[in-house]
């Protein structure tokens, strides 16, 4: 295994992009990443995408990705692990370069979600759960996380206000993100009084439906030094783990084992402890998810994710800033793009290129955590500026 750096990043403005097609979404971010790296060619492309088939009737992104990014005949591979597809695509590209098979590889992520109505999107997203034993019985994705929330609240005393504080914090951050879908702040009362989706989660505890893409260029460290004058961002840790697809079969309904395992792998590989990390982008698909993720990562002790959110530990100015981008909640959640967009955010923060009023003072080492289904798969990466 050799050292690998991220040398180019691209992300379009996310939202309900009625005028932009799936193919153009991929191409927009791919071209931005190539331009940012100052190169025209790569040797392979990975595309994280959960369900282009159900959202747009289009499969075979292994061709469409390179084709519309103007880089045929390089090989394209679509990577799918539900909402962790982007993180898994990045890891695939990382392994491709680290192994020595290629020097320069692109990892992209995309989801075009608004070509179907709300019912169609709910159906497509539910395919990340167990069709026969969860979805068949009428549970939804918010429903699965709501059951984790109720379990966590009963077991650890996590409060409704602490859940809401995740959304308040992430919208505060996202309002400052020029690429975010929902650039607005929300109050604690707005979150708690929004329409109930699945008790105790309201609409403002849930990440939105989004069209969007992201792309990054990975390059062997030796070659990176001669290609770019920007600060080199090295991939120092990578971890990936699975858990039962059914929530009911997990050892503990209040913890995320796949995330804890993936995080340990990544930290061990990097030779770091969680407190060596300056900031994190994590998978806040629902407010309770961020609370459980920061516990699994060790940013907060098990059961203390709620208090750590409420006391400002994870705020932009806190001891351990989490989701300075606005997270999935405010930035948006085009499922397959999310994991790659986390790498874009880490890279921009480390280079000092984030939006001015949300650039962290100390951002040398960042962690990205991306998660599929109800925590049934999880990917963690750690990046460090050289």
């Amino acid at each position: 295994m050799r050292d690998v750096a991220v040398i180019g990043v691209g992300m379009n403005k996310w939202g309900e992009l009625w005028e932009t097609s799936l193919r153009d979404l991929i191409a927009q971010s791919a071209l931005m990443a190539l331009d940012d790296a100052g190169i025209e060619e790569v040797e392979a492309m990975y595309i994280g995408c959960m369900s282009s088939g159900l959202f747009t009737d289009q499969e075979h992104l292994g061709s469409m990705g390179p084709d519309y990014s103007g880089i045929c005949p390089v090989p394209g591979t679509r990577v799918e692990s539900a909402c962790a597809s982007g993180g898994a695509a990045f890891r695939s590209a990382y392994m491709h370069v680290a192994s020595g098979m290629a020097d320069i590889v692109m990892a992209a992520g995309v989801e075009k979600m608004t070509d179907v109505d709300g019912g169609g999107a709910t159906f497509a997203l539910a395919t990340a759960a167990d069709q026969e034993y969860e979805v068949y019985n009428g549970v939804t994705f918010p429903g699965l996380y709501a059951m984790m929330a109720n379990h966590h609240m009963k077991k650890y005393g996590t409060t409704r206000d602490q859940l809401a504080q995740v959304s308040v914090k992430n919208h505060y951050n996202g309002a400052k993100n020029s690429l975010a879908q929902f650039r607005m702040e929300v109050s604690l009362d707005q979150v708690k009084n929004a329409v109930m989706v699945s008790d105790p989660l309201t609409l403002l505890d849930c990440s939105p439906i989004t069209d969007g893409s992201a792309a990054v260029i990975l390059c062997s460290m030796d070659k990176a030094k001669s290609l770019t004058k920007k600060r080199l961002v090295k991939v120092i840790g990578s971890g990936h783990a699975s858990d039962t697809i059914q929530l009911a079969q997990r050892e503990d309904l209040s913890s995320l084992k796949s995330t804890a395992i993936a995080a340990k792998q990544a930290l061990d590989m990097a030779g770091r402890k969680i407190n060596d990390i300056n900031f994190a982008e994590v998978h806040d698909c629902f407010s309770i998810a961020e609370i459980m993720v920061i516990e699994a990562l060790g940013i907060a002790a098990q059961g203390k994710g709620g208090p750590a959110t409420a006391d400002g530990t994870t705020a932009m100015t806190g001891k351990f800033p989490v989701n300075v981008s606005g997270g999935l909640k405010s930035k948006g959640h085009p499922v397959g793009a999310t994991g790659v967009a986390q790498i874009v955010e880490l890279t921009k923060q480390i280079r000092g290129e984030a939006d001015k009023d949300r650039q962290l003072k100390k951002a040398d080492i960042g962690l990205a955590q991306n998660m599929g289904g109800s925590g049934a798969s999880s990917v963690v990466h750690i990046l460090e500026g050289m």
């Binding site: 034993y133 009428g138 379990h151 699945s198 008790d199």
Partner: protein
């Protein structure tokens, strides 16, 4: 839903059939062909208990298309013992009545229907004991 896709789940959905590992005794519901605990591939047929307790729950208020008419409805993860948990709807129980720790019993029920006048899909729900 195609007939085989529905038909092949009938032993589990109608009769609560599960697979008990002959080596370590772990009960898998639905049945598996390899034990997730010890990787043995030998099982004996068993049935899960029809009584259990609610370990966690939610009330679905924004429902999938085929369940829209039933919302709001409670859904629970029920611990039925022997290391088995089952996710199902809670019938004969109002959204305000459901609680963690509540005793319930699994029953054979209609779960959903494919469109107006469509095929009825059966399975299990739990009811307060």
């Amino acid at each position: 839903m195609s007939a085989p896709k529905y038909w092949r789940e009938i032993p589990q959905r109608y009769r609560f059939e599960a697979a008990k590992c002959k080596k370590c005794g772990k009960v898998s519901f639905p049945p598996r062909i390899v034990c997730p605990e010890c990787r043995s591939r030998e099982f004996e047929n068993t049935r899960i208990n029809d009584k259990g307790t609610v370990e966690t729950y939610t009330v679905i208020r924004v429902a999938p298309t085929q369940f829209t008419d039933e919302a709001p409805y409670p859904v629970a993860i029920v611990d039925v013992g022997d290391g088995v948990r089952v996710l199902c709807q809670v019938a004969d129980c109002g959204p305000e009545e459901i609680k963690i720790g509540m005793s319930v019993r699994l029953e054979f029920r209609k779960v959903q229907q494919e469109g107006h006048g469509g095929i009825i899909n059966y399975g299990y729900k739990c009811v307060p004991e």
